[in-house]
Symmetry: C2
Subunit: 285 residues, 2 copies
């Protein structure tokens, strides 16, 4: 925790910002851009942070919707990719650089393992998130996704359930889903694939929210883990704003506020967090 001026205290959560997997993906992309200038692609944004993706674009990393021409290099983004798409890229003979977060890779492997072991595979996470879609690909046909925002499926027809979870999912939501499943299947094998960076960031954010009057959560609007931090802080009955950059801050938010907490998603770069903190301090004066 870093303390600030006496008018408005700004406290930054300990585990805010880039996680190991994101740092690694950005390093891989930057190195590739230096080597293969002008021919480096990512299938979809490398990470869910528009500002970082813009910075990479300036360095020559192009976001591609489809599989690019065969003379380029493709970076598999941190969320991983469906194995069928990976195979399609391979058959085209394009150079592949795998920036899949190692924790996501572990979740993919565990899902495939559960399938081989005869379990009905269940992925607990957001149905439409690319990471979840990738994991589902590794678990194969018939894989079921349990999404807390959707109707809970009746799985009582399955005797053996094998469970993995989106690496950035919230532990409580994961645990609640497991409790419900315990009631239906007699055998359940669970790999808790929530990554520590996510768990720590969520814990730190909640602890901080309890100590301040207002929370500012910084990160991509398309970032699931950033949105979850926002939800968690709001769930703790703390007034919370989710912003992408410092210029979205509004002076009126800080009127009469004595302590502000700042946290950020695992895909939010440190320079944006620093800008946000400086701007809040200015506004508080």
């Amino acid at each position: 925790m870093r303390k600030n001026n006496p008018h408005l205290q700004v406290l930054v959560a300990e585990k805010a910002g880039f996680c190991f997997g994101v740092k690694r993906a950005i390093r891989i992309a930057r190195e590739a851009a230096e080597k293969d200038r002008g021919k480096v692609y990512t299938l979809g944004p490398l990470i869910h942070n528009p500002q970082v993706v813009e910075d990479l674009a300036r360095r020559g990393v192009v976001v591609s919707k489809g599989i690019p021409a065969s003379d380029g290099a493709v970076i598999i983004r941190s969320h991983g990719i469906h194995p069928q798409i990976l195979n399609r890229i391979k058959t085209k003979g394009i150079k592949i650089m795998d920036a899949t977060c190692p924790f996501v890779k572990a979740a993919q492997e565990k899902a495939a393992l559960l399938k081989r072991q005869g379990y009905q595979v269940v992925v607990i996470g957001e149905k439409n998130h690319p990471e979840v879609q990738g994991i589902v690909g590794y678990a194969g046909k018939g894989t079921i996704v349990i999404d807390q925002n959707e109707h809970f499926p009746n799985l009582s027809r399955f005797k053996k359930l094998g469970i993995v979870t989106q690496t950035t999912y919230n532990f409580d939501a994961f645990s609640k889903s497991v409790s419900k499943l315990l009631n239906s299947a007699k055998e359940i094998k669970i790999f808790n694939t929530i990554c520590n960076a996510t768990a720590d960031a969520q814990k730190n954010a909640l602890d901080l929210a309890k100590k301040v009057n207002l929370m500012i959560v910084v990160g991509g609007y398309n970032s699931a883990n950033t949105s979850r931090l926002t939800q968690l802080c709001r769930g703790a009955s703390r007034k919370t704003y989710h912003i992408e950059t410092a210029n979205q801050l509004k002076k009126k938010w800080f009127k009469g506020v004595k302590k502000v907490g700042v946290t950020a998603g695992t895909s939010t770069p440190d320079w944006i967090i620093r800008e946000v903190v400086s701007k809040i301090k200015e506004m508080g004066n």
Copy 2:
């Protein structure tokens, strides 16, 4: 649900009394007593109901603390037995009749399987219950018991946890323990070995408790599942008495009461439940 006189309504829970495993154990004991008159033993009471055990004693089934002489027949009781004791009986050449509840046997087998598969075995249940001690025996050395009445152990040193549960345990307590374990181990394999009879009886008792002014729970004071029914009804903020027999009923309990619910443990015989219901009706008049 059976309805009674207009002064005091007595409602009996649907799934009250003997379960499959208890019926089977009593049948085995009675048949053995008819064949081997005077030489039939059980190691500890066959089931946790003193009145049934007395009835069996009259038929010649003797409760023995140690292993009896070699010319008798030993009935393994419904809760099962530690495999070391079973082996000791076997080496003595005594006739063995296994009245272990098939659901308890399944829990023992699953515990042994988890051990063979390299899991740290965890039994969720009552540390001192003979069923749990038997299961622990099958899982072998180093098995950990998680008892909701005791301090929750820190198991974060184990990577792979394998879980079974006492067949008569309460689902919510089981589920809460699993949630806590999910936080510590990355891999958990769970066999939900709670038997349906227990789950149904608990559900029925709770449903009934909500509809009446007073609950009477009938069953052995040494019966874990009966005690749990009492706890559950009390947990639902319903005034509840736990009795073993009809003559423990007190007229003053029913003063001003309009609806009484009756339930019973899985080791409580039907004739005791009937006596209790008749006596309550008499008192209500």
